[in-house]
Symmetry: D3
Subunit: 282 residues, 6 copies
């Protein structure tokens, strides 16, 4: 099971989202209509198949609005959901439940969408040695949460930011005046625990990269045959990462070339929510 | 032209996103490879057709990283883009440009995605009287930005949060013990500038709602024929809003029923980025 | 009873106020004089008649300083107080009680002042159909709290900010080049749940406004007879709001003209505190 | 002239107040009606006599909304205003001016109200040696700004918070078991630059206090004759501070008793705004 | 015993430090290796003699990471530690303990270092009347915590900031055009509870200062004989503070001159941590 | 030259430190004594030899207090300073310069202290292949700044936090039930750009580690002869890092063993400030 994010990483995002929704006057509708004494019991239910992620965010939303709301998780983050599956029970004062509902679902449906999409590709390439990784193409402010959801879906994380690994792209190479200069400057400039990855566009560049001893190579938008040759050239001396137009239907062939990683940007920038609803039991 | 968001609403989101990316050590790669004296000129270029939105967010990212970076916008927010169109020119110290690039693009590609999707539906229903509106199903923390992008794309905004209009849903009705009680409590509880909208599931409920004088009705998941009858029942006495499975291909028929508003959640929760790139001119 | 503000809207304001008072060294006096083991029991007592508001803010101040402090509310927000009435009992470690006392009272006395002043006008116009509303003339940073106190005092809230309704003032009309242009631009520019109110200075303007179908009219600084005619002209087709020099003694006559709303700025910008003390029982 | 507050103390309060007013959608009215190209020139004008304070807060509001807005101050903080006096000229894009107007005025009218009320008492006691001081009974979150306005009005500041002086009140004395114990514990517990003030209710207590060598005595709610005797007993060995029901009409007699300070809570908790308007010149 | 800092002053610093350490992905090592079900019991143990300070910061770190972690303090802040002494027991889920460990120790070892260094000088001058005080030469962001640690070590606090006492330095005197002008301006400009201290370089200046009635004099970098004469000149009419190169070995002679205060900057800017470890008991 | 930290990483820390010093009333002394019109020119001057670091923090302090203050850097970060060297000239309104002085110096003296200490060890081991690295034993809230100063001093950075590399310590090994299990779990749990380092206590453990293919080994508190054998065992297959009691006098012998890295905690937790003063030129 994927370790949960510490609460102090979860709470600030949920708090901000709740305040964004409450505005300056709170939930006008619920406050006017629902007496304080009414209690409710609801169920978070999957309305389509997928993988659930983000339950800590959702339950935190309810708890921050009213600590008297209890949440009982039936299917924790990472569970595979069938249509109709019960995910969690929410029980407590109806006002708070209704007020927090949308914020809780906004987190839960999006993060489950990320996890489900990730799982879709991970499953598609089962049997190969390749792993699915996400990128820095994330929704502003939600990177840690989205990368957590990728892990929940069976993927791995690439860089979390500009500061935790070197990734030399074509612009860096151009400015440095060549691959060798770029790699040497990078090696001289960063600490010993920082890995160096180089984006290569051609097999010639790849051979030059191998001679320089980089830790990983990013093989961007290469055809299948070129990828296969690239893997052969690398020969296990570095991690090979393929990127560009990787979808569930194209992933198996790409993974079959022997690359170590499939890098998939849309998992975090263009994903569809997983439909999860909050059913109020009367 | 859609009025820009004030800078004090734009800057905090961009600042947070930059810090999320910089982490504790900044851009290891660029700092190590690119000398401080190198300057660059780049172009933000559309890699697919669509509508651009979020240029203030993008240019703010560059400016916050280095005030010496100049940005010249060629096609402002709301412009229709063809593949290859030049959107803006970015000029200045290469380090800052490379460091801010991903954050700038994360905002720009997402918000342009929202605007383009909105425009897609707005165009599809051109000739009808219906308007496209978004919902509270937004990405946590990005609501104001996303709703701005919807406006840029030709849509309108529904509620910004729980506090700026009353929307009575089925759960409220159930707890109140009926539509009449719910509407009366709402009217007694909120200020005179707050409109009241009621979600109705059946035409019988709709007739009850009309008798109560609500300002708007949300017609959720009704078939085309039912929508037509609903519009007739309302007869201009309230705003009619249709929701449920509204996509570019289904929108025209729904709009043709005569409803005033098409409410589209996926514009803000499941949208695909518009592909915009930063081309470094050497 | 007026619904309470959610705790996540109350706590940040109280936390900031406590830190403002604690500075960098905390309560020098109490820390030096009062041993940690001393406990106390105090009573929040009304020193004049009025309406209490803000108990959540006050009790939060005590709880944030020391979670061991218990607070028992005898007369909740909205209660009418006579001189000497017991409002709440505060019990716990004396250090925390003394340290939080001033911050708790600053919130409680001010918000009760707002509620009491509101109640004064609401009572003065009892028997008419008019409602008392507050404005955006609030103390910077305290708007949500003050507007809550107005509700507690029996008033209603006008706009919470620039973004939750349209209020077209004379400057807008002047720039637009007339009432018609202003109203039409507003209608085209905002969403369907946003009401449009227009400030009118003369009955001629009012007739123009009625022809345009605005939702509400602000009748600023009109004499009683003019107000009466204005109400007649409107004839129930829009909400009528009177503003300008509304005090408890002038309010009844204004309300008797038939206007729907009395708008009172001084409730939130020039109000006198309600005198509430914390009596330490020895 | 009173030194201005550093901008880094002014900006955060103004920024928060602007965001409180802008909400999630900004100024709906102005954005819809006023074209971006329209410029305006307005005048901040006194609508009643008083003392102006808070211009930095007001001009910061305009500047934060749009840096293109110019502000020319004609009568700086501390100036005495007659009805109709021009305080400052505001010039620039009309949108920004209209959007920032209410926030700017909320600060300016309140802080000028504080300064004017202070000046009223200061003037009333002119010719005596007494000074007017404010208290910790401030509006939550606005303490630094209010205390600045008191200085602008000719007053002095008492403690800014719990941490910058010792003020021993009756409850501290009761818990310590007497005045001597309280003073001794305080002296032992705080640094050498911290002054110690003691609240005394009777002349007997005062004599005890004098024997202990406190730096100041707070003479709470004493009659004029008692105050005179108290001043005589102290004989210049400590600062004497009178508090309780000090208004412009009662202040002169109290000051004439020879006390050093008049402590006035309502200057910061129950003050009336000074009426200042923004006149749009067409 | 030194009163604890209120939790609302401790928590924000600890929260920020934890987030600084967790980054965007949390504790990679522990999350990957330690199952959620493993529990641990550890001991905070002194690895050298000294005085402990900062236990609230340390225990808050554990609690914020996981509320299920229990902390039992055996030797509270201010306790003298021998090598090997047990300070506290930490018990709970191993993941949280390992994740919070470094942040907890960073606070505890530094603040105990400050307290221990303070105690070293305080002990060295035992028997004299002098007190040890710290300065504003603190680690940015940690002033309140460091000054608390000085108190725990037996020292007193000098100014907490620029706003809680007047300290006139040579540059102020130069700009004012002399000691008299500087002191008079200061007295006119600040409130009655603010003490005035003057830095003097020579005995001539000191005599001038005494004639002006300042509350304290800072005797900077004077030799022992000069200090003795200074104390004699002051004759108890003001507080005397010596500063400059005060170390445990030089302190006794300086204190023996009769000065009231020894001001020691390095206690907060150049102190060595106290070595405290977290021993995991298997 | 070491790349500067982006301004958006520098400003928040400086802003917080200034507000910590300004408190609620600002610089009482300077405001009272120094007229607004007085200008000054000062010099930041080295009072001892060392390496300067943190000039951006210092100049930002002056600029944030008053944008009219100019700063001219003569010896940028990384420069070796002799006693008396001019580092920078500060020119502008005297009030702002005096108000910002202490905050500017607190950053500059501490960070220069870190850089100078680092340089001391780096110079001591010149001629070997070893590098100096810092640890996570940093001052809470100042990690990014301190690690920057280490780089300025010629050192490298180890992990910035728990999330940017795996460091398996003895407790992790104990819980995992052995080195093999710990390493395997780590490898399975983290992304491909994350390096794995293992702390080893004995040469037997080291041999086991080498068989597992870790990226780096931390050789804690080993004697010189053991270190030499460890380096031989590793034989270049992993990075070797020595830690424990590394001071300028012990460093050369340790570096001579052939280890790649010397890990030095006290550089960031127990360093002495570099004495830099601000000389006011009259």
């Amino acid at each position: 099971m994927i370790p949960a994010l510490p609460a102090i990483m979860v709470e600030p995002a949920v708090r901000a989202a709740l305040l964004e929704d409450l505005g300056r006057a709170g939930d006008l509708t619920t406050d006017a209509i629902v007496p304080a004494s009414v209690r409710t019991e609801c169920a978070l239910v999957a309305r389509q198949a997928g993988v659930v992620a983000g339950l800590d965010f959702a339950t935190t939303a309810f708890r921050l609005i009213d600590p008297a709301i209890e949440t009982l998780v039936e299917r924790p983050d990472g569970s595979r959901l069938a249509h109709g599956d019960l995910i969690a029970v929410i029980r407590g004062p109806a006002r708070g439940v209704l007020t927090a509902e949308r914020t809780a679902l906004n987190f839960l449906c999006h993060l489950s969408g990320v996890a489900s999409a990730t799982r879709g590709i991970v499953d598609a390439i089962a049997g190969t040695n390749a792993q699915v990784v996400c990128t820095r193409k994330t929704m502003p402010g939600l990177r840690a949460a989205q990368k957590y959801a990728v892990r929940v879906g069976g993927g791995s994380n690439h860089r979390f930011g500009l500061d935790d690994a070197v990734l030399i792209k074509d612009n860096h190479v151009a400015i440095a005046g060549g691959v060798r200069a770029a790699v040497e400057r990078a090696r001289a400039g960063v600490g010993h625990l920082v890995k160096i990855e180089l984006e290569v566009d051609t097999l010639v560049q790849l051979q030059e990269a191998m001679a320089l001893g980089v830790d990983a190579v990013l093989l961007d938008n290469m055809g299948l045959e070129t990828l296969r040759q690239a893997v052969e050239i690398v020969g296990g001396r570095a991690i090979t990462e393929a990127s560009g137009r990787i979808r569930p239907d194209t992933a198996p062939a790409i993974a079959a070339t022997g690359v170590d990683l499939l890098s998939v940007g849309w998992l975090t920038h263009s994903v569809t929510v997983l439909d999860i609803g909050l059913d109020h039991r009367d």
